[in-house]
């Protein structure tokens, strides 16, 4: 079996280092490139560890990708009775170890983000390991590599701020518990500017895409 590193010459091949994974659902176009690419991984062939949800197709084309958040203090590992979920020194929470996992689904129930899934055909939990086979040797995760809109992004926080707007957040409050994660999400400042009025506004596309509030509904005779 040829190794992954034989096939690519990634420009930034220096290991994970201080790179982070960034998710910006506002850019997601729902194309499923991440899901399809994830199924190509040698460690979970044909299965995607990436989740992509339609938020509410009836009202919007908004979609939301969801990946393992790689918690600094992973609940899944805490609740695992078999000690099957390990976190690497460079901060990646691994999928369950096949030899240890007993398929109890404690992690599936406990994860505050709803990420791990139990696979009956393998009788074990599997989840995203941030493409450790790729990232540990300096390449990128497959999903961030292919993402056409770069809603999924991988790099250092400095690189992110040098090229893209938005505030990065990796702190999530669940009841009394603060969860911090390796994966960051993007929080956007107030939206676009109304060039006629000279102030920011909520784009009408969100609530009234066709402007019916202004001109009324078109007559539907069909």
């Amino acid at each position: 079996m040829a190794a992954i590193e034989d096939f690519f010459d990634h420009p930034d091949a220096i290991g994970i280092g201080d790179k982070v994974y960034v998710m910006d659902p506002s850019r997601c176009i729902g194309c499923n490139a991440c899901v399809q690419a994830c199924t190509e991984c040698d460690t979970h062939k044909g299965n995607s560890m990436m989740h992509l949800e339609e938020v509410d197709r009836a009202s919007s084309t908004q979609t939301a990708p969801m990946v393992c958040m790689h918690c600094d203090d992973p609940t899944c590992a805490e609740v695992c009775p078999a000690d099957a979920i390990k976190k690497t020194e460079d901060g990646v929470v691994q999928s369950a170890e096949k030899s240890r996992c007993i398929g109890c689904s404690n992690c599936v129930i406990a994860c505050p983000f709803g990420v791990p899934e139990y696979y009956e055909e393998f009788d074990m939990m599997m989840k995203c390991d941030m493409c450790y086979d790729r990232t540990s040797v300096g390449s990128e995760p497959m999903c961030t590599s292919v993402c056409p809109s770069q809603a999924l992004w991988y790099g250092t926080i400095e690189e992110f701020h040098a090229t893209r707007p938005g505030t990065l957040s990796n702190e999530f409050q669940f009841g009394n518990r603060l969860v911090t994660t390796r994966v960051h999400t993007v929080v956007h400042e107030p939206g676009p500017l109304d060039v006629l009025l000279g102030r920011s506004f909520e784009p009408s596309v969100v609530s009234d895409p066709f402007g019916f509030d202004e001109i009324g509904l078109p007559e539907v005779v069909g």
């Binding site: 190509e40 078109p218 005779v221």
Partner: protein
């Protein structure tokens, strides 16, 4: 009589579409990778760089190609799963001939001999042009050049056209008219430099997904996004200004924007004065088209049109991207001209961060039209009717100008000519009119009327069902050559594997036929690189000048932009620098555009507008992508998108079966009830076959200049189909009975 020899169901049983889901040998096989080949995706005009992993002469997976500058590793789901078209159970491995009992295998020699005999017989009985050739733009430029030369110099017919005729010819015609040259004005590198991005009639997220990132990079720099579309497509959802127009009213919208730019004096007066002619006439043509007047026609609030004019006209830089949404109309050329007019008015050419670009749909949408397989063009994007252009090509081909036929019929016109009895035989490669042409019932009637029909393809397409003879050609990864992308960047396709079984590379088949037709002296090629070298010579001095390109340069420089006249020329990513346009006087033309309605209007019987398009997981007529399991899973069958307000009137909810009927035909598919479409419009994607063609409904009326059909607007009625069961029962029944 090119009737399908068995029932559709029997043909599908044998030849598919079946679904391939795993690499050759399955997921669990320990695959030894033999090599990794740098090449490009086989699908759309973006031509993303991709590395194909090869084992045992089969493509078994991919790696992102981070170093290729256009996409830097990015891919859409079709690119990710493209490799599953190889080692496919449906792959044609030997020539097939029709018998009363169905298709049966035959040998190459008698098959090729039969093609030649039929060409001779038909041409002797009915004249040279009674045998026609239809080609495609997913082929390499070498093959498209070969198809044009083969049709004209071996078959001797004027009737050669290609499926780019169904794609971007309206843009080609408008660019030539206004700017003097048929190519996107800029490389995509100018998009992130723009202060405003205007997308008109292009579902970027699903049809040109990688362009999404270019637009976001512009927005990261502060650019605003305007999108005009009858649907809130995934990228439109985030637009700063969304113009949700009624299908078929594009030039009214653009006319009103020009009108408003004039009112607000958002014009680049110096640019207009120095580099253009005809502004006054263009302005006069939109004098009545105020935002308020356009609101009545387009259904877009006047305030949004004013906003768009301000957003587009005020900054110093901006790009406008358009695609089939404005081009697939009987006024397609006018629609594009109306976009060019607002580009010229704002001085948006020949400068960083500026440009008005069409997004070609097919892999070689650009290259496939400029080197000689278009009915009205010779290589180098030369005009077939121009005596000087004919003389240049004749001299380089070593023939007399009289030996080169004059302009032939366009794609759709050829099908009408079959029905009229003027075309009796056809050779077709790389296109699937039973899905792709408008008015499927008419297409079927035409195919059934042919005396002889030969198809070159790698799968038995729905069109090939009607063939007398099917010749197994090559998949993208089985051959090499170049393609020119939407940007105008000529890139190198590299072979990863050899054709399986007795399949041959397409050019080998065409060369064999040319030789047997006695035209050897015009086809002295050992392989595609010889053909490319001839393209360099023949295109030299023409508009699409490839003379300075070599395969080695193209590889080393990650593609080259034409015109590239000499080997030390760097290529031309940005056209019209310094405001120098391609017309002899160097000036661009404003062409006046007065809004004219679509050919078919709604009425009491057909009260709704239909518009058609694509989904991300399928490509064009689906011959390849309907055979790739993970892509089919993503969007298994067409859905009829409609607004809840319309659905409610018919008692329709999501999943209900809906029959859509036009004056030409009807099709049935499940409803998708969404607020993201205009209430007066329904949308159906067109990739499917066997009664689920959206093109059963569409109008075959053509743009008089570009000859593009009006896929994007026709009048329909809808009704809920009562099946007595739940939507899921209906779906199960439909999928099991086909």
């Amino acid at each position: 009589m090119a009737r399908a020899p068995l029932t559709e169901a029997e043909l599908i049983e044998t030849y598919g579409p079946h679904l391939n889901r795993e690499p050759k040998g399955g997921w669990d096989r320990d695959i030894q990778i033999d090599k990794v080949v740098d090449t490009h995706c086989c699908f759309c005009g973006q031509q993303c760089g991709i590395k194909l992993k090869v084992a045992d002469n089969a493509v078994v997976g991919f790696e992102p190609w981070y170093d290729f500058p256009f996409n830097e590793g990015k891919l859409c789901p079709k690119g990710v799963k493209r490799y599953l078209q190889g080692s496919h159970p449906d792959r044609l491995l030997e020539p097939l001939q029709r018998t009363d009992a169905g298709f049966e295998p035959t040998e190459w020699d008698p098959a090729l001999e039969r093609v030649v005999d039929e060409i001779h017989r038909i041409q002797a009985a009915y004249g040279k042009d009674a045998f026609s050739v239809i080609s495609g733009s997913s082929l390499t430029t070498e093959k498209t050049y070969l198809m044009g030369k083969f049709a004209r110099m071996a078959v001797g017919t004027a009737n050669i056209d290609y499926n780019g005729r169904l794609c971007m010819v309206s843009a080609a015609g408008a660019n030539k008219k206004a700017l003097g040259m048929d190519r996107a004005s800029n490389s995509w590198a100018d998009i992130p430099l723009a202060e405003v991005v205007f997308v008109a009639g292009a579902n970027i997220a699903e049809c040109a997904p990688i362009t999404t990132d270019y637009i976001w990079r512009a927005r990261d720099n502060g650019a605003k996004l305007i999108m005009a579309d009858p649907r809130v497509t995934p990228l439109a959802r985030t637009a700063d200004c969304f113009l949700g127009l009624r299908p078929g009213t594009d030039s009214a919208l653009m006319g009103a924007i020009l009108n408003e730019m004039i009112s607000r004096d958002l014009l680049d007066h110096d640019f207009i004065a120095e580099h253009t002619i005809g502004f006054e006439e263009a302005a006069a043509a939109v004098a009545e088209m105020t935002p308020k007047a356009a609101q009545e026609i387009t259904g877009v609030p006047a305030s949004r049109i004013e906003q768009a004019a301000e957003l587009w006209g005020r900054p110093k830089t901006g790009v406008l991207l358009h695609a089939r949404g404005i081009e697939h109309h009987s006024k397609g050329v006018q629609n594009v001209l109306s976009c060019i007019n607002i580009g010229l008015a704002a001085g948006r050419y020949g400068k960083p961060g500026c440009g008005v670009m069409t997004i070609t749909g097919q892999a070689n949408g650009q290259g496939g039209r400029e080197q000689g397989q278009k009915a009205d063009q010779l290589p180098g994007a030369r005009d077939i009717g121009n005596p000087e252009h004919r003389a240049v090509v004749a001299e380089r081909w070593g023939c007399s100008p009289e030996d080169i036929p004059q302009a032939g019929l366009s794609y759709q016109e050829q099908f009408q000519a079959i029905l009229d009895g003027d075309i009796k035989g056809m050779l077709l490669i790389c296109t699937n009119p039973m899905v792709a042409l408008p008015d499927t019932n008419m297409v079927k009637a035409a195919l059934e009327k042919l005396e002889f029909f030969v198809v070159i393809d790698f799968f038995l397409s729905e069109t090939a069902h009607h063939a007398d003879l099917v010749l197994p050609g090559s998949l993208h990864e089985e051959d090499e050559g170049v393609v020119t992308t939407a940007e105008g960047r000529c890139v190198k396709i590299n072979a990863a594997v050899t054709p399986p079984g007795n399949a041959k590379r397409d050019w080998e088949i065409i060369l064999e036929l040319a030789n047997r037709l006695g035209a050897q002296r015009y086809f002295p090629y050992e392989g595609p690189e010889d053909i490319f070298e001839e393209i360099r010579k023949v295109s030299a001095g023409g508009m699409a000048d490839y003379a300075g390109m070599t395969w080695d340069r193209i590889t080393a420089e990650h593609g080259l932009f034409w015109p590239c006249p000499t080997e030390d020329h760097p290529g031309t990513p940005r056209l019209y620098e310094g405001g120098k346009f391609a017309h002899p006087d160097g000036k661009a033309r404003f062409i006046p555009v007065t809004y004219q309605p679509a050919a078919e209007q709604v009425d009491v019987d057909y009260p709704l507008l239909l518009t058609t398009g694509r989904v991300i997981s399928q490509f064009l007529s689906g011959t390849q992508t309907r055979r790739i399991g993970p892509l089919v899973d993503q969007y298994p069958e067409p859905l009829v998108e409609m607004h809840p307000r319309l659905a409610e009137r018919h008692g329709i909810t999501t999943g209900d079966l809906v029959r859509v009927r036009s004056r030409r035909g009807e099709m049935t598919a499940p409803a998708q009830v969404v607020e993201t479409i205009r209430p007066d419009t329904v949308f159906v994607p067109y990739h499917w076959a066997n009664g689920q063609q959206a093109n059963l409904l569409t109008n075959p009326v053509l743009d008089p200049g570009s000859k593009i059909p009006e896929y994007k607007v026709c009048a329909v009625q809808i009704e809920r189909v009562t099946t007595g069961g739940t939507p899921q029962d209906a779906r199960d029944t439909r999928l099991t009975t086909g």
